[in-house]
Amino acid sequence: GESVGLHLPTLSVQEGDNSIINCAYSNSASDYFIWYKQESGKGPQFIIDIRSNMDKRQGQRVTVLLNKTVKHLSLQIAATQPGDSAVYFCADSTGNQFYFGTGTSLTVIP
């Protein structure tokens, strides 16, 4: 079955620093990847996505990098702010179903 995991369950960063959250996936046929952010008591929210024909995609303060050779995905958050504190999930899919990792908890230290 699918195996999507995160290297680190928790991450603490100083406000203003850059954050990097990593994710490994196992299905080489996965062709679509998403990062979600989940704040306490809320549902996951879409942050950024990337398809397998790309290796980098940038959004506002966020960048996703995809390395299909080693089946690795990362999320970079620039100038991390207190509002970025949350759990971050990666998810991958080959169709209309997504498979989620357990998440990394990001804490921003003021």
Binding site: G1, Y32, Y36, P44, F89, N96
Partner: protein, 115 residues
């Protein structure tokens, strides 16, 4: 979350009772999903639907059933609630166009406690 609502937001029920959770969308999306979220497990798929009256099982479907009689509503029923079904339940919707799938939009979740 715009376009998708779950009800109730919180529920406490007794072991052995049936429970139904509701997901309602206003986006006219074809696909709807029910997930449960537990510490250490992430989001696990219970059931999903790819159209009215078209549903299929996910990886943790035992003890759950679903129904979709209208595009906008997807109901999750716990036939006889057990303590192991205490969890946070999330509904999600998605769409695909031209063979390209798009990501999920999640509801705010239902926290269910079975005592």
């Amino acid at each position: 979350d715009a376009g998708i609502t779950q009800s109730p937001r919180h529920k406490v029920t007794e072991t052995g009772t049936p429970v139904t959770l509701r997901c309602h969308q206003t986006e006219n999306h074809r696909y709807m999903y029910w997930y449960r979220q537990d510490p250490g497990h992430g989001l696990r798929l219970i059931h999903y639907s790819y159209g009215v009256k078209d549903t299929d099982k996910g990886e943790v479907s035992d003890g759950y059933s679903v129904s979709r009689s209208k595009t906008e509503d997807f109901l999750l029923t716990l036939e006889s609630a057990t303590s192991s079904q205490t969890s946070v339940y999330f509904c999600a919707i998605s769409e695909s166009q031209g063979g390209i799938n798009y990501g999920y939009t999640f509801g705010s979740g239902t926290r269910l406690t079975v005592v």
